[in-house]
């Protein structure tokens, strides 16, 4: 019994420490040295406590603020809203062992704290938001990537803000194929599911539109739908996957894996000249450490920041729209970044592809072929 307790305690602490390492190495990999880091003092929600604009409540997805990707794109929206709308904000973090009840509880706590709108980042919040929205008819709810309005069909205060990630990914796929010398490129996805497959499908279609016989290595960090931590909070897994691709001859790797993508950049920096990585959601060139910046070709922009800002504005103007709102290439909801200037010589071709999508000449698939 006694020996057991000791072994158990050691293992428990070991497990806790390992989880800690898992989430911290991301910060160490870039967050610490970056400008948008996660320290409390720069947090707009803490530094600005009163304003005439809306009070926005934001519930983050797994990975949280500081992932320099998905969640940080939402945070960028808060920063804009604070500046443009004189808004104030409250943030809440996800826990990896959340269930629908704890997620709903988070949204309720936000709603009761007097915020409007409540914006939940990530589709996992959909069932929770669908349950909570009817309980607070005076507060507007939005779910990024969500499908909540298909569950609570009567709610007039509930919106799903979705993105045409496949269109944005198509553009960076074009860039990847144009830049690749080896004829081999890669894709690292977080959780192998509907959402990330949209990125994959667009990327593959874009690359093949330039070089139909291009070789594309595809790897997901987990097949396990419920394991968001391994998918999106796992820089070492991202690094291992990308390293293998570079060693195998791929010279451009695109990631759609949130914080795990920081590992892809590390691998790109280690692989050195002639090898590139492509960021996702935010303009990741801006937050990458100096040694990785020269390796970040471009980033697929998913303008969650715009969606957050517009949700705040809609509450301010009393023009809330419920149901699905789609941000696509046409509405500038997705795009690609040019920071670093590495795609300047490819710009004409990428923009041409963008025009074809906007005009409807090209339809980008949302699901991988096989």
């Amino acid at each position: 019994m006694r020996r057991m307790s000791k072994i158990a305690a050691v293992t428990m602490v070991g497990a806790l420490a390992l989880t800690g390492c898992g989430s911290n190495s991301g910060g160490g990999g870039g967050g610490g040295s970056s400008s948008s880091g996660g320290s409390a003092s720069e947090d707009v929600c803490k530094s600005k406590t009163d304003g005439d604009g809306p009070k926005i409540g934001l519930a983050y997805d797994v990975g949280g603020r500081g992932d320099q990707s998905f969640n940080d794109s939402a945070y960028a929206g808060l920063e804009k809203a604070v500046e443009d709308l004189d808004a104030t904000c409250v943030e809440a973090n996800a826990q990896t062992d959340d269930n629908d009840t704890t997620r709903a509880e988070r949204l309720r706590t936000l709603a009761e704290g007097g915020v409007n709108p409540v914006i939940a980042v990530g589709y996992l919040y959909s069932p929770a938001a669908a349950k909570v929205a009817p309980e607070y008819p005076d507060v507007d709810f939005a779910v990024i990537d969500g499908y909540a309005s298909t569950i609570a069909t009567d709610a007039t205060n509930l919106a799903d803000l979705t993105f045409a990630e496949n269109e944005g990914s198509y553009l960076v796929g074009v860039a990847a194929a144009l830049e690749s010398k080896s004829g081999k490129i890669g894709f690292v996805g977080g959780v192998d599911g509907e959402l990330i497959q949209k990125f994959e499908a667009g990327y593959v279609a874009g690359a093949k539109s330039v070089k139909p016989d291009i070789d594309i290595a595809i790897q997901y960090l987990t097949q396990d739908q419920a394991d968001a931590a391994t998918g999106y909070e796992n820089p070492s897994g991202g690094k291992a996957a990308a390293e293998a691709m570079y060693q195998d001859g791929a010279d451009v790797v695109y990631h759609a894996a949130g914080k795990s993508g920081l590992g892809v950049f590390q691998a790109a920096a280690a692989a050195g000249d002639g090898n590139w990585a492509i960021g996702v959601d935010s303009d990741q060139y801006l937050t990458a450490p100096k040694d990785q910046q020269p390796r970040i070709l471009t980033s697929m922009l998913k303008r969650i920041d715009t969606a957050v800002l517009e949700a705040g504005k809609a509450v301010q103007d009393d023009s809330w729209k419920s149901g699905f709102v789609t941000y696509d290439l046409k509405s500038d909801g997705v795009g690609y970044s040019t920071s670093g200037g590495f795609v300047d010589d490819l710009k004409t071709q990428i923009d041409e592809a963008a025009d074809q999508i906007k005009s409807g000449e090209v339809t980008v698939p949302a699901k991988p072929e096989n």
């Binding site: 057991m4 428990m12 973090n93 909570v132 499908y147 599911g193």
Partner: protein, 373 residues
Amino acid sequence: MSVVRRAVVVLAAPVLALVVAGLIVSGLLLATGDDVAGFWRVMTTVPSERSIVAIMNQSTILYVSGVAAAIGFRMNLFNIGVEGQYRLGGFAAGAFAGQAWLPGYLNTVVAILVAMLVGALWAGIAGVLRAYRGVSEVISTIMLNAIAGSLIGYLIKRWGESTGNATNTKAMPEGSRIGTVAVFPDSPVELYGLGLLAVVVGVGFWVLLNRTRFGFDLRATGASESAAVASGVDTRRMIVVTMLVSGGVAGLIGLPVMFSQSYNYGSSFQTGLGFTGIAVALLGRNHPVGIAFGALVFAYLSQQANLLNIQAGISPDIIEATQGIIVLAVVIAYVVVRRYRVRQEQAQVARQLDDAPPGAAPASAATPAGGAR
């Protein structure tokens, strides 16, 4: 020792542990520049009705998880695989219930049995490997956890369906769902109907340990394997059966949420409960009542994590750290209190010997059980 004194000693360890943990966490918060006053304000506020129900819900789930781990611990079997067992069991039950091969509640009952069976078999693999091939159950269960995750991922991708961006098994028919119990009339959060499973599991665990031959063998093997073998316990069989029972209970962990809330196994299935269960069992000293206490503490902490985060701006990571600190503090506190008790007993025996007529009792009889010096 008197009853009062005994009770004080029993309660001393957990209380001491909580106080020490509280002090350490306060220090941690000071060091990170967080709002210490805010932390204690939130932690000591009486939870709202809604939160109380949420805490009860989470406690029942953690309790089942704690018991699943404790069954193995009682026999020195470190089943880390509760995590994989409950997820695979939950998935199997969700997939089965979604098919609606059976009508109404019959479907529910069989789905529950399926969950237990699958959890038991998954744990049984580790049990058989340990009993007949000497493979450490710690290693094999960790690996089985990883395999379970990938297996579910594969199966659900192949046969599951998608709702928006989420992927899940087919929703179970309305007739097989279990309703919720309203504890407070106005609370939007209600008690999971299958939370009752926790009571059944708790009573069953107590009866198994204290009123069955299997339970006696289990405790005997845990206390001393060689002594158990000498008295005729088939330890190989015990290892396999214990793992089966542990895994069977583990299979139940995910069911309350599934049958009362999500109605399918999918992206939003709650993970990590198996690991938390290990800590809960440790906190509760593998005792049916102690585990309930441990589950309550952990459920309370994770419920307050949201409030801390939103009202005091403290990261939920602090709550994870707090849980770890409490577990460590409890283990240390028990060692300290046990040493104190042993010394007290030794002193008492020595006193009695001094009072006894000279030449009566030999000194060797005075060594108390488990005499650590």
